[in-house]
Amino acid sequence: MSAVVKLSNVHKSFGTNKVLDGVSFEVGRGEVAAVIGQSGSGKSTALRCINALETIDGGTIDVCGHAVHDAKLDRRSLRRDVGIVFQSYNLFPHLTAEQNIMLAPTCVKKKSKAEARELAHDVLRRVGLAEKADHFPEQLSGGQQQRVAIARSLAMQPKLMLFDEVTSALDPQLTGEVLKVMEDLARGGMTMILVTHEMAFARKVASQVVYMHKGKVWETGPGSMLDKPKTAELADFVGSGL
């Protein structure tokens, strides 16, 4: 199993606030890693660093053969390989679901309109929204918008997908439909890193759980580690009902 993502001793501060304090972990091909931890533990920042949305102060990050820590990083080339889905969906409000999905394949991969449209319908079908192609984001529920956002990422055929608390803005019912799509993706062999508060989902789907605390990787292991935490902090965190 080759590592698709490898963080080594990553440091990152915002001003005097140390957010990442020597973070290291690896994610192999086809693996699903769930990063968990309290708010402010640095988990979202770690995810954003993987996609070069934040620059790091020290350490190395290798993603699909890209040296993300390198000042000469080709960001666009990195982002062709890495898809990201955000908590707030971030669909483009002036475009329909289909147009949202077609934008990057036509602009970046130079696909024809017809090819891109076919691709859009294909990924929409995968997230169960084939009939919503002509809807604008504001005409869709939160869960549907998030599934379109996942489809938009999928259309670029990424080698790695990042999910940044993608269900945190959704009610339980809508959360379920989004998690189901993610579970299907995981089954399909997609390499995924998700920052999440969904413990049950992490336990069920993740091949690796990374517990972060105070900017450090506190504990890491398979989903079952949540049942018998080694550290008091993780026990606390699991016990708090999150």
Partner: protein, 217 residues
């Protein structure tokens, strides 16, 4: 002494065309320069950003009247003997509008949420694609009402071009009044023509604003 007649009205109508023409020059020229300055204003490069800030502050802090004098006499000093009034007024109003449009449009560009810029970036779009396909379509919708509103300011401010000898609506009114001395009649007619130009613009601006508030699409 002759009184206000159809001949005068015709003269005013002709002058109103110049007012419209000068407004168009100011809007198009100011729009092009202003858009460039707005982009500079949000550039990631600090030097470029500061250059834009200085430009905007200087233009906004200079009375249009002084700006017009500076250009009219400034160009003459640089060596061109006789500057056509239209050119001087056109340049002056272009600079004036660009300073304000740049700031209006900067605000509109920045009011597109940062997450939209990020999402576009994460889809591997180039900065150009991101601007034209994602940011501008959203910013333009936000920008239309204040831009049309500013158009009204431009139309009214073209009256200052009379100081460099440009015969537009206000100057034409003054000329007619000099010959027939009926200031109240003449300037009422002049005001009515300005109103006829500006009122539809303000109404349009307000309607756009309302439409935008009702539906975000």
């Amino acid at each position: 002494m002759p009184s206000f007649s159809l001949v005068h009205l015709e003269f005013l109508g002709w002058a109103a065309m110049w007012t419209l023409g000068l407004s168009a020059i100011a809007f198009i020229g100011g729009g092009l320069v202003g858009f460039a300055v707005a982009l500079m204003r949000i550039s990631p490069f600090r030097g470029v950003r500061y250059a834009a800030i200085v430009y905007i502050q200087v233009v906004q802090g200079t009375p249009l009247l002084i700006l017009l004098f500076l250009i009219y006499f400034g160009i003459a000093i640089v060596g061109f003997q006789e500057v056509p009034a239209l050119i001087a007024a056109g340049i002056g109003l272009t600079i004036y509008s660009s300073g304000f449009l740049a700031e209006i449009w900067r605000g509109c560009l920045e009011s597109v949420p940062k997450t939209q810029w990020e999402a576009a970036e994460c889809l591997a779009l180039t900065p150009w694609q991101r601007m034209t396909r994602v940011i501008l379509p959203q910013a333009m919708r936000i920008a239309t009402p204040p831009t049309v509103g500013f158009l009204v300011q431009i139309v009214k401010n073209t009256s200052l071009a009379s100081v460099v000898g440009f015969v537009e609506l206000a100057q034409a009114g003054k000329l007619i009044n000099n010959s027939i001395f009926e200031p109240f009649t003449v300037f009422m007619v002049v005001a009515a023509i300005y109103f006829a130009i500006c009122f539809p613009l303000s109404t349009w601006s307000r309607r756009l604003e309302r439409k935008l508030n009702v539906s975000r699409r």
